[in-house]
Amino acid sequence: MLKMFIESFKNLCSSPETIKYPFAESPEPKGYRGVIEYNEDLCIFCDKCENICPPGAIKFVVSDFETGKKEYNYNPYLCIYCGACVTECPKADEGCLVQAQTRTPPLGRVVPKGEKLGYFINRIDNPKEVESKWREIEKLNIKTKEEYKEYKKQQRLAKKKAATS
């Protein structure tokens, strides 16, 4: 008991261990797993990141059937920041998908914007819409993929027809 008294008095004189968080800064540690950044120019649309993502926070929507171009939609509020997409990405070394060391601000009055965050979050202005719009994206993801599959099938059939005739 006496030892603890001495320890407590020592602590009275020493500087505090805690920080006053909202007023003092709490920087991210080195190597922090933060937000996922995407570079569309390097992407080959292999869908590997979409397939591995455990919470389903990455969804591609096919925008152009002829070139096979897809729109990358990323929901930072659904993301669990595990980094599985980055390890799976074949072009990660070149910087197609990178895990940055910045954290996403809590969902308050504004939505974070950025060129590298994909199409979804940049098209939303009202934070209350994030959830409902993401459901639409999920539906679009399934719908456009099926349509794209059908389109490709038709094209293959047409090609076959042209080759036989």
């Binding site: 030892k3 603890m4 320890e7 261990e17 797993r33 920041y81 595990c82 390890t87």
Partner: protein, 360 residues
């Protein structure tokens, strides 16, 4: 004097997680107890066989529990690697062992802090949590996150460590060791702490064997059981693992056995950092899981059991999880009968119950 039923939980000031006990008391003495454990059921076993593919499972099972997320992810990774016939190199084994032991350190320190808090020793609780920050910093630096580590993946670890992290960890572990010895001394020699913990909730070795207890609770009663020694999923013996045993079996012994294990784990971590083998931190993964496998790993709270079954599909057929707290509930009920109601909090917390694991 009639019997009075006193509810303890599901929301209680002493409990970090929801569990409910209904104590039937006569005066101060508990005569009967009823336990309800399923307050945080999330259906993870079902989700693992319907919604998630096998390569997403480590990320899912890591969310079973916040404290032993490394153990759960590790268990499922060991099982899947057996099903996929993947051999990992020594460096991966050592890195995995390193995070597993760090996980054990911070979990044990949290448990001991909580015991100190519920017996009314708030000061010791704060001291324990203060020193726990060091190991949290090391884990955060290695894995990139403070709570959800996602470090063990199929075929290796998510990221390698460099010499800078090794130096950082060594420095932190050294201060941690000094601090743990100091806190251990407070636990050991403090008179008031002893009054509330010594001779409270005693489990004899016969009881521990009969009720098949797991983890530090069994080892505090002198029942030598440890999955690290019994199953060779990781080479713990190589880095200086020693089984820690105490014999008195009360709340105090359970605290002290956890401190012994913390010191042993720190020693193991230092050995790992000194003898880290060279090699890749990841091996190639191919194929789909086929067959069935049983995995037993030592979680901070005891033996954690996983059963996995796959049939060359992306989604597994069956995932079964049995966690150590579930194995310890029967003896917990037995201990309450005849104990004083005022000791109930200390007994519950000395078991270090993890309800989110149990209900999953």
């Amino acid at each position: 004097m009639g019997k009075i039923i006193v509810p303890f939980g599901s929301q209680h000031i002493a409990l970090p997680e929801p569990v409910s006990f209904l104590f039937e008391t006569e005066n101060e003495i508990i005569t009967n107890v009823e336990a309800h454990v399923g307050y945080v059921h999330r259906g993870i076993e079902k989700a693992a066989i319907t919604k998630f593919e096998f390569n997403q499972l480590p990320y899912l099972t890591a969310r079973v529990c916040g404290l032993c997320s490394i153990t759960h992810a590790g268990a499922v990774v060991h099982g899947l690697e057996k099903l996929l016939n993947i051999e990992v190199n020594k460096r991966i084994d050592y890195l995995r062992m390193f995070v597993v032991e760090l996980d054990r350190i911070h979990s044990h320190l949290l448990a001991n802090g909580h015991v100190a808090e519920v017996v009314g020793y708030e000061n010791l609780f704060m001291q324990t949590f203060k020193i726990r920050e060091d190991v949290m910093d090391v884990l955060e630096r290695i894995t990139g996150n403070r709570v959800q580590y996602d470090y063990q993946v199929i075929g290796g670890v998510a990221r390698d460590i460099d010499s800078e992290i090794v130096e950082f960890s060594k420095k932190k572990l050294k201060t941690l060791k000094d601090n743990v010895l100091k806190i251990m001394d407070f636990n050991d020699s403090d008179y008031t702490f002893g009054l509330k913990t010594k001779g409270v909730g005693v489990i004899s070795k016969e009881m521990a064997t009969k009720f098949n207890t797991a983890g530090p609770i069994a080892r505090a009663s002198g029942f030598a059981t440890d999955a690290r020694a019994e199953y060779d999923y990781l080479p713990f013996e190589e880095v200086g693992y020693k089984m820690q045993l105490r014999t008195s079996g009360d709340v105090w012994a359970r605290n002290m056995v956890r401190f012994d294990e913390v010191l042993n784990s720190i020693e193991m971590c230092e050995n790992i950092l000194d003898n880290l083998p060279a090699g890749e931190s990841k091996v190639k993964v191919k194929g789909r899981p086929e067959g069935e496998v049983v995995v037993r790993v030592e979680a901070p709270r005891g033996e954690c059991f996983y059963y996995l079954k796959g049939s060359k599909q992306k989604v597994l057929d069956r995932v079964r999880i049995r966690v150590p707290t579930y194995a310890n509930i029967p003896i917990l009920k037995e201990l309450f009968v005849g104990a004083k109601y005022s000791d109930a909090q200390a007994i519950v917390l000395s078991f270090d119950p993890c309800m989110s694991c149990t209900a999953k």
